[in-house]
Amino acid sequence: MAAVAFGYHHAATWLHGLDVRVKLAAMVLLSMASLRAGGAAIVLAISVALLLLRHVRQPVARWLVSLRWYAVLLAGIVLVRALTTPGEPLFGMSRWPLSGPGMEEGLLLAGRLLFVTLFGLLLAATTRPSQIRSAVEWYLRPVPFVPHRQAATMIGLLVRFIPVILTQATEQGEALRARAIDNRRNPLRRTVFLCMPLLRRTFVTADRLALAMEARCYGSQRSTGHPWRMTVRDWSALAGAGGLCLTMLAIG
Protein backbone atom coordinates (compact mmCIF):
# COMPACT_ATOMS: atom_id res chain seq x y z
CA MET A 1 0.00 0.00 0.00
CA ALA A 2 2.24 2.74 -1.29
CA ALA A 3 -0.54 5.26 -0.86
CA VAL A 4 -0.44 4.96 2.90
CA ALA A 5 3.19 6.10 3.20
CA PHE A 6 2.10 9.74 3.01
CA GLY A 7 -1.00 9.68 5.17
CA TYR A 8 -1.57 10.83 8.72
CA HIS A 9 0.83 9.38 11.30
CA HIS A 10 -0.30 9.81 14.84
CA ALA A 11 2.28 11.10 17.31
CA ALA A 12 2.18 13.53 20.21
CA THR A 13 4.29 16.37 18.84
CA TRP A 14 4.01 20.12 18.93
CA LEU A 15 3.05 20.27 15.26
CA HIS A 16 0.31 17.66 15.69
CA GLY A 17 -1.28 19.78 18.39
CA LEU A 18 -1.24 23.05 16.45
CA ASP A 19 -4.54 24.57 15.38
CA VAL A 20 -5.26 23.27 11.88
CA ARG A 21 -6.38 26.68 10.66
CA VAL A 22 -2.93 28.02 11.48
CA LYS A 23 -1.28 25.16 9.62
CA LEU A 24 -3.44 25.74 6.55
CA ALA A 25 -2.83 29.49 6.62
CA ALA A 26 0.92 28.95 7.01
CA MET A 27 0.88 26.53 4.11
CA VAL A 28 -0.85 29.06 1.85
CA LEU A 29 1.32 32.01 2.96
CA LEU A 30 4.57 30.09 2.56
CA SER A 31 3.59 28.73 -0.84
CA MET A 32 2.87 32.25 -2.03
CA ALA A 33 6.10 33.58 -0.55
CA SER A 34 8.09 30.81 -2.24
CA LEU A 35 6.78 31.97 -5.63
CA ARG A 36 8.58 35.27 -5.16
CA ALA A 37 11.58 33.96 -3.25
CA GLY A 38 15.09 33.71 -4.65
CA GLY A 39 17.75 31.02 -4.18
CA ALA A 40 18.87 31.94 -0.66
CA ALA A 41 15.29 32.18 0.58
CA ILE A 42 14.42 28.77 -0.89
CA VAL A 43 17.43 27.16 0.77
CA LEU A 44 16.31 28.70 4.07
CA ALA A 45 12.74 27.51 3.59
CA ILE A 46 13.74 23.94 2.69
CA SER A 47 16.02 23.82 5.74
CA VAL A 48 13.13 24.89 7.95
CA ALA A 49 10.89 22.24 6.40
CA LEU A 50 13.54 19.55 6.96
CA LEU A 51 14.04 20.66 10.57
CA LEU A 52 10.31 20.44 11.17
CA LEU A 53 10.27 16.99 9.54
CA ARG A 54 12.92 15.83 11.98
CA HIS A 55 10.97 17.33 14.82
CA VAL A 56 7.75 15.41 14.08
CA ARG A 57 9.63 12.09 13.81
CA GLN A 58 8.18 11.00 10.51
CA PRO A 59 9.52 8.03 8.54
CA VAL A 60 11.62 10.41 6.44
CA ALA A 61 13.71 7.65 4.87
CA ARG A 62 10.56 5.93 3.61
CA TRP A 63 9.28 9.22 2.23
CA LEU A 64 12.48 9.84 0.33
CA VAL A 65 12.30 6.39 -1.26
CA SER A 66 8.66 7.00 -2.24
CA LEU A 67 9.64 10.40 -3.62
CA ARG A 68 12.35 9.07 -5.98
CA TRP A 69 10.20 9.46 -9.09
CA TYR A 70 9.41 12.96 -8.02
CA ALA A 71 13.15 13.64 -7.81
CA VAL A 72 13.52 12.37 -11.37
CA LEU A 73 10.79 14.79 -12.43
CA LEU A 74 12.54 17.69 -10.68
CA ALA A 75 15.87 16.76 -12.31
CA GLY A 76 14.06 16.70 -15.65
CA ILE A 77 12.73 20.21 -15.05
CA VAL A 78 16.22 21.50 -14.27
CA LEU A 79 17.65 19.81 -17.36
CA VAL A 80 14.98 21.09 -19.73
CA ARG A 81 15.36 24.61 -18.39
CA ALA A 82 19.13 24.46 -18.75
CA LEU A 83 18.89 23.17 -22.31
CA THR A 84 16.22 25.53 -23.58
CA THR A 85 17.11 28.84 -21.93
CA PRO A 86 19.49 30.92 -24.03
CA GLY A 87 22.64 32.17 -22.32
CA GLU A 88 26.29 31.53 -21.58
CA PRO A 89 26.99 27.76 -21.71
CA LEU A 90 28.26 26.28 -18.42
CA PHE A 91 30.88 23.93 -19.84
CA GLY A 92 33.05 25.26 -22.65
CA MET A 93 31.94 23.54 -25.83
CA SER A 94 29.56 20.65 -25.92
CA ARG A 95 26.90 19.38 -28.23
CA TRP A 96 24.28 20.01 -25.52
CA PRO A 97 24.92 23.50 -24.24
CA LEU A 98 23.71 23.74 -20.64
CA SER A 99 23.20 27.43 -20.14
CA GLY A 100 24.17 28.98 -16.79
CA PRO A 101 21.09 31.18 -16.31
CA GLY A 102 18.84 28.30 -17.42
CA MET A 103 20.43 26.01 -14.83
CA GLU A 104 19.89 28.62 -12.16
CA GLU A 105 16.29 29.16 -13.15
CA GLY A 106 15.63 25.42 -13.26
CA LEU A 107 17.15 24.86 -9.84
CA LEU A 108 15.08 27.68 -8.40
CA LEU A 109 11.89 26.24 -9.87
CA ALA A 110 12.71 22.74 -8.64
CA GLY A 111 13.54 24.13 -5.20
CA ARG A 112 10.16 25.87 -4.99
CA LEU A 113 8.32 22.70 -6.00
CA LEU A 114 10.31 20.64 -3.51
CA PHE A 115 9.58 23.09 -0.71
CA VAL A 116 5.84 23.16 -1.39
CA THR A 117 5.78 19.35 -1.59
CA LEU A 118 7.68 18.92 1.66
CA PHE A 119 5.38 21.33 3.40
CA GLY A 120 2.29 19.62 2.02
CA LEU A 121 3.57 16.24 3.23
CA LEU A 122 4.29 17.76 6.61
CA LEU A 123 0.75 19.06 6.82
CA ALA A 124 -0.73 15.73 5.71
CA ALA A 125 1.38 13.73 8.13
CA THR A 126 0.53 15.77 11.20
CA THR A 127 -3.13 16.53 10.56
CA ARG A 128 -6.10 14.24 10.42
CA PRO A 129 -8.05 14.63 7.19
CA SER A 130 -11.15 15.25 9.28
CA GLN A 131 -9.42 18.23 10.90
CA ILE A 132 -8.38 19.61 7.52
CA ARG A 133 -11.99 19.23 6.50
CA SER A 134 -13.25 21.17 9.52
CA ALA A 135 -10.68 23.89 8.90
CA VAL A 136 -11.71 24.23 5.26
CA GLU A 137 -15.29 24.39 6.48
CA TRP A 138 -14.34 27.18 8.87
CA TYR A 139 -12.65 29.18 6.11
CA LEU A 140 -15.57 28.68 3.72
CA ARG A 141 -18.20 29.72 6.25
CA PRO A 142 -18.10 33.49 5.53
CA VAL A 143 -18.15 32.92 1.75
CA PRO A 144 -21.71 33.48 0.54
CA PHE A 145 -23.56 30.91 -1.61
CA VAL A 146 -21.12 28.11 -0.79
CA PRO A 147 -22.71 25.24 1.18
CA HIS A 148 -19.64 24.94 3.39
CA ARG A 149 -20.77 21.76 5.14
CA GLN A 150 -21.27 19.81 1.92
CA ALA A 151 -18.11 21.24 0.37
CA ALA A 152 -16.09 20.12 3.38
CA THR A 153 -17.58 16.63 3.33
CA MET A 154 -16.83 16.35 -0.36
CA ILE A 155 -13.21 17.22 0.26
CA GLY A 156 -13.10 14.68 3.06
CA LEU A 157 -14.56 11.93 0.87
CA LEU A 158 -12.17 12.77 -1.95
CA VAL A 159 -9.23 12.44 0.41
CA ARG A 160 -10.68 9.16 1.66
CA PHE A 161 -11.14 7.81 -1.84
CA ILE A 162 -7.68 8.39 -3.25
CA PRO A 163 -5.94 5.57 -1.32
CA VAL A 164 -8.88 3.26 -2.04
CA ILE A 165 -8.63 3.86 -5.78
CA LEU A 166 -4.87 3.43 -5.76
CA THR A 167 -5.17 0.16 -3.85
CA GLN A 168 -7.82 -1.07 -6.24
CA ALA A 169 -5.66 -0.13 -9.23
CA THR A 170 -2.78 -2.16 -7.80
CA GLU A 171 -5.02 -5.17 -7.15
CA GLN A 172 -6.54 -4.91 -10.60
CA GLY A 173 -3.10 -4.72 -12.18
CA GLU A 174 -1.94 -7.78 -10.27
CA ALA A 175 -5.03 -9.77 -11.26
CA LEU A 176 -4.46 -8.87 -14.91
CA ARG A 177 -0.79 -9.75 -14.76
CA ALA A 178 -1.68 -13.11 -13.19
CA ARG A 179 -3.66 -13.73 -16.37
CA ALA A 180 -0.72 -12.77 -18.59
CA ILE A 181 -1.78 -9.28 -19.68
CA ASP A 182 1.92 -8.58 -20.27
CA ASN A 183 1.74 -10.81 -23.34
CA ARG A 184 -0.45 -8.25 -25.06
CA ARG A 185 1.63 -6.03 -27.28
CA ASN A 186 -0.81 -3.20 -27.78
CA PRO A 187 -0.42 -0.74 -24.88
CA LEU A 188 -3.76 0.85 -25.68
CA ARG A 189 -5.60 -2.46 -25.18
CA ARG A 190 -3.68 -3.01 -21.98
CA THR A 191 -4.73 0.38 -20.66
CA VAL A 192 -8.36 -0.21 -21.58
CA PHE A 193 -8.31 -3.56 -19.78
CA LEU A 194 -6.97 -1.85 -16.69
CA CYS A 195 -9.08 1.30 -16.75
CA MET A 196 -12.53 0.09 -17.64
CA PRO A 197 -12.93 -2.36 -14.74
CA LEU A 198 -11.24 0.12 -12.42
CA LEU A 199 -13.69 2.87 -13.35
CA ARG A 200 -16.66 0.58 -13.00
CA ARG A 201 -15.42 -0.67 -9.66
CA THR A 202 -14.86 2.85 -8.42
CA PHE A 203 -18.41 3.80 -9.29
CA VAL A 204 -19.81 0.69 -7.63
CA THR A 205 -17.76 1.40 -4.50
CA ALA A 206 -18.94 5.00 -4.48
CA ASP A 207 -22.51 3.81 -4.81
CA ARG A 208 -22.18 1.39 -1.90
CA LEU A 209 -20.52 4.05 0.19
CA ALA A 210 -23.38 6.46 -0.49
CA LEU A 211 -25.85 3.78 0.60
CA ALA A 212 -23.91 3.03 3.77
CA MET A 213 -23.74 6.74 4.59
CA GLU A 214 -27.46 7.08 4.04
CA ALA A 215 -28.11 4.09 6.32
CA ARG A 216 -26.26 5.96 9.04
CA CYS A 217 -28.51 9.01 8.62
CA TYR A 218 -26.10 11.26 6.70
CA GLY A 219 -27.61 14.69 6.06
CA SER A 220 -26.90 18.38 6.30
CA GLN A 221 -27.78 18.62 9.99
CA ARG A 222 -24.61 17.24 11.55
CA SER A 223 -22.97 17.89 14.88
CA THR A 224 -20.38 20.60 14.40
CA GLY A 225 -16.78 19.51 14.73
CA HIS A 226 -14.63 20.28 17.70
CA PRO A 227 -14.73 23.79 19.15
CA TRP A 228 -12.04 26.13 17.80
CA ARG A 229 -9.67 27.68 20.32
CA MET A 230 -6.51 29.63 19.47
CA THR A 231 -3.84 29.33 22.16
CA VAL A 232 -0.69 31.39 22.64
CA ARG A 233 1.20 28.60 20.90
CA ASP A 234 -1.06 28.84 17.85
CA TRP A 235 -0.66 32.61 17.62
CA SER A 236 3.10 32.38 17.96
CA ALA A 237 3.24 29.69 15.28
CA LEU A 238 1.23 31.92 12.98
CA ALA A 239 3.58 34.83 13.75
CA GLY A 240 6.55 32.53 13.10
CA ALA A 241 5.21 31.50 9.71
CA GLY A 242 4.53 35.15 8.83
CA GLY A 243 8.06 36.06 9.94
CA LEU A 244 9.53 33.32 7.75
CA CYS A 245 7.56 34.62 4.78
CA LEU A 246 8.81 38.16 5.32
CA THR A 247 12.40 36.94 5.73
CA MET A 248 12.11 34.94 2.52
CA LEU A 249 10.86 37.99 0.65
CA ALA A 250 13.48 40.25 2.22
CA ILE A 251 16.56 38.15 1.44
CA GLY A 252 15.18 37.50 -2.06
Binding site: L209, A212, Q221
Partner: protein, 249 residues
Protein backbone atom coordinates in the same frame (compact mmCIF):
# COMPACT_ATOMS: atom_id res chain seq x y z
CA UNK B 1 -45.24 -5.79 20.32
CA UNK B 2 -43.93 -6.16 16.76
CA UNK B 3 -41.17 -3.76 15.88
CA UNK B 4 -41.10 -4.73 12.20
CA UNK B 5 -44.35 -5.10 10.25
CA UNK B 6 -44.27 -5.85 6.53
CA UNK B 7 -47.42 -6.32 4.48
CA UNK B 8 -47.61 -7.30 0.81
CA UNK B 9 -44.12 -6.03 0.03
CA UNK B 10 -43.31 -6.26 -3.66
CA UNK B 11 -40.19 -4.79 -5.21
CA UNK B 12 -38.62 -4.66 -8.62
CA UNK B 13 -35.20 -3.18 -9.45
CA UNK B 14 -35.19 -0.31 -11.96
CA UNK B 15 -33.89 -2.65 -14.67
CA UNK B 16 -37.12 -4.62 -14.32
CA UNK B 17 -35.58 -7.50 -12.38
CA UNK B 18 -38.18 -8.73 -9.84
CA UNK B 19 -36.58 -9.16 -6.41
CA UNK B 20 -39.38 -9.47 -3.83
CA UNK B 21 -42.90 -10.74 -4.41
CA UNK B 22 -45.60 -10.34 -1.79
CA UNK B 23 -43.71 -10.56 1.50
CA UNK B 24 -45.80 -10.60 4.70
CA UNK B 25 -43.73 -10.62 7.84
CA UNK B 26 -43.76 -9.38 11.42
CA UNK B 27 -40.84 -9.51 13.82
CA UNK B 28 -41.30 -9.21 17.57
CA UNK B 29 -39.25 -6.76 19.60
CA UNK B 30 -36.26 -8.43 21.22
CA UNK B 31 -36.22 -11.52 19.03
CA UNK B 32 -33.27 -13.14 17.22
CA UNK B 33 -34.21 -13.99 13.66
CA UNK B 34 -32.22 -15.66 10.89
CA UNK B 35 -33.03 -14.82 7.32
CA UNK B 36 -31.62 -17.53 5.05
CA UNK B 37 -31.73 -18.24 1.36
CA UNK B 38 -29.64 -19.04 -1.69
CA UNK B 39 -27.62 -16.40 -3.56
CA UNK B 40 -29.99 -13.97 -5.23
CA UNK B 41 -32.99 -15.00 -3.10
CA UNK B 42 -33.59 -11.37 -2.13
CA UNK B 43 -32.19 -11.27 1.40
CA UNK B 44 -30.17 -8.07 1.01
CA UNK B 45 -33.02 -6.44 -0.88
CA UNK B 46 -35.44 -7.20 1.94
CA UNK B 47 -33.06 -5.81 4.55
CA UNK B 48 -32.67 -2.55 2.64
CA UNK B 49 -36.42 -2.04 2.90
CA UNK B 50 -36.18 -2.05 6.69
CA UNK B 51 -34.46 1.33 6.81
CA UNK B 52 -35.80 2.93 3.68
CA UNK B 53 -32.74 2.51 1.48
CA UNK B 54 -35.21 0.90 -0.89
CA UNK B 55 -38.91 1.69 -0.96
CA UNK B 56 -41.60 -0.85 -1.85
CA UNK B 57 -43.36 -0.75 -5.21
CA UNK B 58 -46.38 -2.29 -3.52
CA UNK B 59 -47.19 -2.94 0.12
CA UNK B 60 -45.90 -1.29 3.25
CA UNK B 61 -43.06 -1.57 5.75
CA UNK B 62 -43.55 -0.19 9.25
CA UNK B 63 -40.89 0.13 11.92
CA UNK B 64 -42.16 0.64 15.46
CA UNK B 65 -45.56 1.42 13.98
CA UNK B 66 -44.26 4.24 11.72
CA UNK B 67 -44.37 3.66 7.94
CA UNK B 68 -40.85 3.80 6.52
CA UNK B 69 -42.03 5.73 3.50
CA UNK B 70 -43.34 8.52 5.72
CA UNK B 71 -40.32 8.85 7.99
CA UNK B 72 -37.17 7.16 6.65
CA UNK B 73 -35.02 8.93 9.25
CA UNK B 74 -36.99 7.33 12.06
CA UNK B 75 -36.45 3.94 10.44
CA UNK B 76 -32.71 4.56 10.10
CA UNK B 77 -32.39 5.62 13.71
CA UNK B 78 -34.27 2.53 14.85
CA UNK B 79 -32.71 -0.02 12.53
CA UNK B 80 -28.91 -0.12 12.36
CA UNK B 81 -27.51 -1.95 9.39
CA UNK B 82 -24.19 -3.75 8.99
CA UNK B 83 -23.62 -4.30 5.28
CA UNK B 84 -22.39 -7.39 3.47
CA UNK B 85 -19.19 -5.63 2.32
CA UNK B 86 -17.40 -4.18 5.34
CA UNK B 87 -14.91 -2.24 3.20
CA UNK B 88 -17.33 -0.02 1.39
CA UNK B 89 -19.01 1.24 4.54
CA UNK B 90 -15.91 2.83 6.01
CA UNK B 91 -16.36 6.58 6.05
CA UNK B 92 -13.94 7.90 8.66
CA UNK B 93 -10.21 8.43 8.48
CA UNK B 94 -9.60 6.81 11.83
CA UNK B 95 -11.41 4.09 13.72
CA UNK B 96 -12.83 6.63 16.16
CA UNK B 97 -14.00 9.00 13.41
CA UNK B 98 -15.73 6.18 11.64
CA UNK B 99 -17.63 5.08 14.72
CA UNK B 100 -18.62 8.71 15.36
CA UNK B 101 -20.04 9.25 11.86
CA UNK B 102 -23.57 8.08 12.68
CA UNK B 103 -23.93 9.97 15.98
CA UNK B 104 -22.63 13.14 14.29
CA UNK B 105 -25.31 12.74 11.66
CA UNK B 106 -27.90 12.53 14.43
CA UNK B 107 -26.69 15.92 15.61
CA UNK B 108 -25.87 14.76 19.11
CA UNK B 109 -23.79 16.87 21.50
CA UNK B 110 -20.04 16.32 21.67
CA UNK B 111 -20.23 14.64 25.12
CA UNK B 112 -22.97 12.29 24.08
CA UNK B 113 -21.04 11.33 20.94
CA UNK B 114 -17.91 10.79 23.02
CA UNK B 115 -19.67 8.50 25.51
CA UNK B 116 -21.53 6.54 22.91
CA UNK B 117 -18.50 6.00 20.65
CA UNK B 118 -16.26 5.00 23.55
CA UNK B 119 -18.83 2.48 24.73
CA UNK B 120 -19.36 1.07 21.23
CA UNK B 121 -15.63 0.66 20.54
CA UNK B 122 -15.12 -0.95 23.95
CA UNK B 123 -17.98 -3.37 23.31
CA UNK B 124 -16.37 -4.71 20.14
CA UNK B 125 -12.87 -4.56 21.61
CA UNK B 126 -11.45 -1.86 19.31
CA UNK B 127 -10.75 0.73 22.01
CA UNK B 128 -6.99 0.38 21.58
CA UNK B 129 -7.09 0.88 17.82
CA UNK B 130 -8.97 4.19 17.91
CA UNK B 131 -6.31 6.18 16.04
CA UNK B 132 -5.59 3.58 13.35
CA UNK B 133 -6.66 3.97 9.75
CA UNK B 134 -9.69 1.69 9.22
CA UNK B 135 -8.35 0.57 5.85
CA UNK B 136 -5.40 -1.11 7.53
CA UNK B 137 -7.56 -3.24 9.84
CA UNK B 138 -7.97 -6.97 9.29
CA UNK B 139 -11.22 -8.31 7.85
CA UNK B 140 -12.54 -9.29 11.27
CA UNK B 141 -11.61 -5.95 12.79
CA UNK B 142 -13.32 -4.11 9.92
CA UNK B 143 -16.49 -6.10 10.52
CA UNK B 144 -16.32 -5.28 14.22
CA UNK B 145 -15.81 -1.60 13.38
CA UNK B 146 -18.88 -1.70 11.16
CA UNK B 147 -20.83 -3.11 14.09
CA UNK B 148 -19.44 -0.42 16.40
CA UNK B 149 -20.48 2.28 13.94
CA UNK B 150 -24.03 1.03 14.17
CA UNK B 151 -23.95 0.41 17.92
CA UNK B 152 -22.85 3.98 18.55
CA UNK B 153 -26.23 5.14 17.22
CA UNK B 154 -28.01 3.05 19.89
CA UNK B 155 -30.52 1.37 17.56
CA UNK B 156 -33.35 -0.90 18.72
CA UNK B 157 -32.85 -3.33 15.86
CA UNK B 158 -29.55 -4.45 14.36
CA UNK B 159 -29.58 -6.01 10.94
CA UNK B 160 -26.46 -7.88 9.79
CA UNK B 161 -26.00 -8.94 6.18
CA UNK B 162 -23.64 -11.94 5.97
CA UNK B 163 -21.68 -10.97 9.09
CA UNK B 164 -19.45 -14.06 8.93
CA UNK B 165 -18.30 -13.83 5.32
CA UNK B 166 -14.47 -13.96 5.03
CA UNK B 167 -13.90 -14.47 8.75
CA UNK B 168 -11.73 -17.16 10.29
CA UNK B 169 -12.85 -19.33 13.21
CA UNK B 170 -11.74 -16.79 15.81
CA UNK B 171 -13.29 -13.93 13.84
CA UNK B 172 -16.61 -15.75 13.63
CA UNK B 173 -16.56 -16.42 17.36
CA UNK B 174 -15.83 -12.78 18.19
CA UNK B 175 -18.56 -11.36 15.98
CA UNK B 176 -21.00 -14.02 17.16
CA UNK B 177 -20.22 -13.20 20.80
CA UNK B 178 -21.08 -9.55 20.18
CA UNK B 179 -24.31 -10.45 18.45
CA UNK B 180 -25.39 -12.76 21.27
CA UNK B 181 -24.49 -10.18 23.93
CA UNK B 182 -26.46 -7.48 22.13
CA UNK B 183 -29.45 -9.77 21.94
CA UNK B 184 -29.18 -10.47 25.66
CA UNK B 185 -29.24 -6.69 26.20
CA UNK B 186 -32.62 -6.50 24.50
CA UNK B 187 -31.63 -5.52 20.96
CA UNK B 188 -33.66 -7.14 18.19
CA UNK B 189 -31.29 -9.06 15.90
CA UNK B 190 -31.88 -9.96 12.27
CA UNK B 191 -29.04 -11.92 10.71
CA UNK B 192 -28.91 -12.79 7.06
CA UNK B 193 -26.84 -15.86 6.08
CA UNK B 194 -26.71 -18.66 3.57
CA UNK B 195 -24.87 -21.02 5.88
CA UNK B 196 -26.92 -21.85 8.99
CA UNK B 197 -24.25 -23.69 10.95
CA UNK B 198 -22.78 -20.68 12.75
CA UNK B 199 -25.87 -19.01 14.17
CA UNK B 200 -28.62 -21.59 14.27
CA UNK B 201 -28.03 -22.53 17.91
CA UNK B 202 -28.73 -18.95 19.06
CA UNK B 203 -31.74 -18.05 16.95
CA UNK B 204 -35.39 -18.14 17.98
CA UNK B 205 -36.77 -18.07 14.49
CA UNK B 206 -35.66 -19.08 11.02
CA UNK B 207 -37.07 -17.58 7.84
CA UNK B 208 -36.09 -18.95 4.43
CA UNK B 209 -36.44 -16.83 1.31
CA UNK B 210 -36.59 -18.28 -2.16
CA UNK B 211 -36.90 -16.21 -5.31
CA UNK B 212 -38.31 -13.25 -3.46
CA UNK B 213 -40.90 -15.17 -1.46
CA UNK B 214 -40.99 -16.52 2.07
CA UNK B 215 -40.64 -20.27 1.58
CA UNK B 216 -40.57 -21.32 5.22
CA UNK B 217 -40.89 -19.59 8.57
CA UNK B 218 -40.90 -20.94 12.12
CA UNK B 219 -38.86 -22.42 14.94
CA UNK B 220 -35.29 -23.19 13.79
CA UNK B 221 -35.43 -26.90 14.71
CA UNK B 222 -38.46 -27.41 12.49
CA UNK B 223 -37.68 -25.16 9.54
CA UNK B 224 -34.13 -26.44 9.25
CA UNK B 225 -35.45 -29.86 8.21
CA UNK B 226 -36.91 -28.37 5.04
CA UNK B 227 -33.92 -26.13 4.33
CA UNK B 228 -32.31 -28.20 1.58
CA UNK B 229 -35.42 -28.01 -0.57
CA UNK B 230 -34.90 -24.23 -0.75
CA UNK B 231 -31.21 -24.20 -1.58
CA UNK B 232 -29.89 -23.78 1.97
CA UNK B 233 -27.49 -26.38 3.31
CA UNK B 234 -28.72 -28.31 6.33
CA UNK B 235 -26.03 -28.39 9.04
CA UNK B 236 -24.47 -31.85 9.34
CA UNK B 237 -25.56 -32.28 12.95
CA UNK B 238 -29.22 -31.82 11.97
CA UNK B 239 -28.90 -34.33 9.17
CA UNK B 240 -27.74 -36.88 11.70
CA UNK B 241 -30.80 -36.13 13.79
CA UNK B 242 -29.04 -34.07 16.44
CA UNK B 243 -28.94 -30.38 17.32
CA UNK B 244 -26.46 -27.78 16.11
CA UNK B 245 -23.99 -26.90 18.81
CA UNK B 246 -23.14 -23.27 19.51
CA UNK B 247 -19.88 -22.03 18.00
CA UNK B 248 -19.19 -20.27 21.25
CA UNK B 249 -18.72 -23.46 23.21
Amino acid sequence: MDIVEITGLTHRYPDGHPSLAGIDLTIARGSFVILAGANGAGKSTLLKHLNGLLLPDKGEVRIGGVPVRKDPLHARRTVGMVFQDADSQIVGETVWDDAAFGPENLNWTAERIQDSVEAALATVGLGDLRDRSPHLLSGGEKRRLAIAGVLAMRPDVIVLDEPFANLDYEGVRQVLTHIVTLHADGVTIIVCVHDLEKVLAHAQRLIILQQGRIAADGAPEEVVRKAEAFGVRMPAACRLGGKVESWLR
